[in-house]
Point group: C2
Chain length 351, copies 2
């Protein structure tokens, strides 16, 4: 056996026509080749290249913020993004809304045998672009392969490490009656982008996912009036309704939303109407809900609107005293309705 054979992959990975097979998850030479020629080509950096069982990273001075999310979105590619960018944005946003500075990500890939390497390459490239834009590095990863029919293309679990803001006390339990609820933009774009692709709805204006990294916006908001921000959330699965109900429960308060103030794209409203969905239940992947003290609301809203991801920001309601912790909404017709979270599942595999 020659050194060439030992060291080498006589043939490079055929990314254009090749497919994932079980050997790519086996811990042997094929897996090393997949990591080197596909993942590391896009996502490589000095941390990832340590090549040990764990990655040793510099100390961080403050408290640590940790979050994890598995991504199983179907379809894998959709207007405005793909599972790769979504997996980065989702985890960056979970750190950002905690007021933390996102630093590092890890990613675990579960691949289905037969998945086209070309699609995996697109996903890795998309993750790399999203990481670069968000200023985070992927520092550890893992790849497993399951038999055809035991997975669905690719699932990605990302975990994020961030550094907490030194004075930050954001928490779902910090909302108080009299506080103001701000929303950074239109509701339901991500969910309806997925649904209209899945249902083959052909709108004149295709609906694009709002998938985006919110860390820049949240940093500006923290700098503007961090001490007056009670909490931030990104209303993903379950939509604004689930987020506001969680806040109401955790803080022991009520919420009163103002339907007329909630920004909504006409095409999203139309798609929701068609599919019988309430936009308040539909997932967002680049939107921010912020609860703050009344005194800071105007400044924070202006800060949102000055940011590219917050141009359509609005003051959409307020926190009330309510022993039942109800979320209610003043409707455009002048009535008032309950905003409950869904008990079941309208939109499977939205993220």
């Amino acid at each position: 056996m020659s050194g060439q054979v030992k060291a080498g992959y006589a043939r490079a990975l055929d990314i254009r026509r090749g497919r994932v097979d079980l050997s790519h998850g086996g811990g042997g030479r094929a897996m090393v080749q997949l990591v080197r020629e596909l993942f590391a080509r896009h996502l490589g950096n000095t941390w990832l290249e340590q090549g040990n069982d764990g990655t040793v990273l510099p100390p961080i001075s403050g408290r640590l913020v940790l979050t994890t999310d598995s991504h199983v979105v179907a379809p894998l590619f959709f207007p405005g993004g793909d599972i790769g960018s979504l997996a980065v944005h989702g985890t960056v946003n979970d750190l950002a809304v905690m007021g933390a500075r996102p630093l590092w990500l890890t990613a675990g890939f579960i691949l289905e045998e037969g998945f086209p390497l070309g699609d995996l390459d697109r996903i890795a490239a998309s993750m790399a672009r999203a990481c670069a834009a968000a200023g985070v590095l992927l520092v550890a990863g893992d790849t497993k392969v399951v038999e055809h029919g035991k997975g669905d293309g690719v699932f990605i679990t990302t975990t994020g490490v961030g550094e907490a803001h030194p004075h930050c006390t954001l928490s779902g339990s910090a909302a108080r009656p009299g506080d103001v609820v701000l929303l950074s933009g239109t509701l339901g774009d991500h969910g309806m982008a997925i649904m209209s692709q899945r249902e083959n709805l052909g709108f004149d204006t295709p609906i694009e996912s709002d998938s985006a990294a919110l860390h820049g916006l949240t940093a500006q908001l923290m700098a503007c009036a961090g001490a007056d921000i009670r909490l931030m959330r990104d209303p993903t699965r379950g939509g604004l309704a689930a987020t506001m109900n969680e806040i109401a429960d955790q803080s022991g308060v009520g919420v009163l939303l103002d339907e007329a103030a909630i920004p909504l794209r006409p095409e999203v409203a139309a798609a929701c109407e068609l599919l019988g969905l309430d936009p308040l239940n539909v997932a967002n992947e680049g939107k921010l809900v912020l609860v703050c003290a009344e005194q800071a609301a105007t400044a924070l809203l202006a800060t949102m609107r000055a940011h590219p991801l917050g141009r359509a920001a609005a003051r959409i309601g307020g926190i009330t005293t309510d022993a039942n912790h109800f979320v209610q909404m003043r409707t455009q017709l002048g009535g008032c309705r309950m905003v409950d979270w869904l008990s079941g599942e309208q939109l499977p595999r939205i993220c």
Copy 2:
């Protein structure tokens, strides 16, 4: 709508007879119920109960070590463990072999619609026991559900955060000619436990997985002679052969193993013989490979043997000068053979 209805789940989750459905991943009430009544019942702690998008943790003083692994083992339950304990041990061990103190874990669950809640409950209980034994806390989690036929029961991706040993410089590239290779015990137990269950091999003595947390053993070894340890690895997927080839490549050295010195259970040897597998390629989940300076080998071996997880430890070879970075083995018959890593996949979904 009464407060009782809003707050409550009229019926508790039927863990004995219930099954996962798509609503359990939807971000709504059903998901909250699954998290509260199943996951939190076993795994709850003050960090997990913060209930925010990210978990805020105390600062750690040293460098940070980060690792991630997706677990797709089939079957989910096997002699000596299950996917839950394996997911904890695998990630704890990746931190431990870096010389780090394991602190926190996150877990992302991808569940298949129809998976019995009773099995999920067993898995969560097993994770909780493994976390307690390893002295780590699960501080963040996520649950997604995919349609029946798009997954395989449950996949678990665990990410681990540890604190690096202050003076630790362990690295796959640190091995030097003249160094000694120690192995903490018998080879191939985990892989053959899985394979014999999968192939329905009925041995008189059932083979048990060696799945175990190595952090206690590694801490004692670091305390014994940390400065003389070049690197530690847990030889999982790809087995000892893959691990030694990685080390040879990363350090630019050769390896010479001594077959007669490698501990092997007779039942594992027999099962490997039957299935045509080389025990050097078979996965371990509670074994440690350690490369150290010759001067510390005797003390480190004694430390291993004094630990319950290292009773069968042995000196199994040494590091050589070899421009080709070959791993070779002196066989019991007196010859010498190449130990290559597998190019393909013999043992899919072993971890």
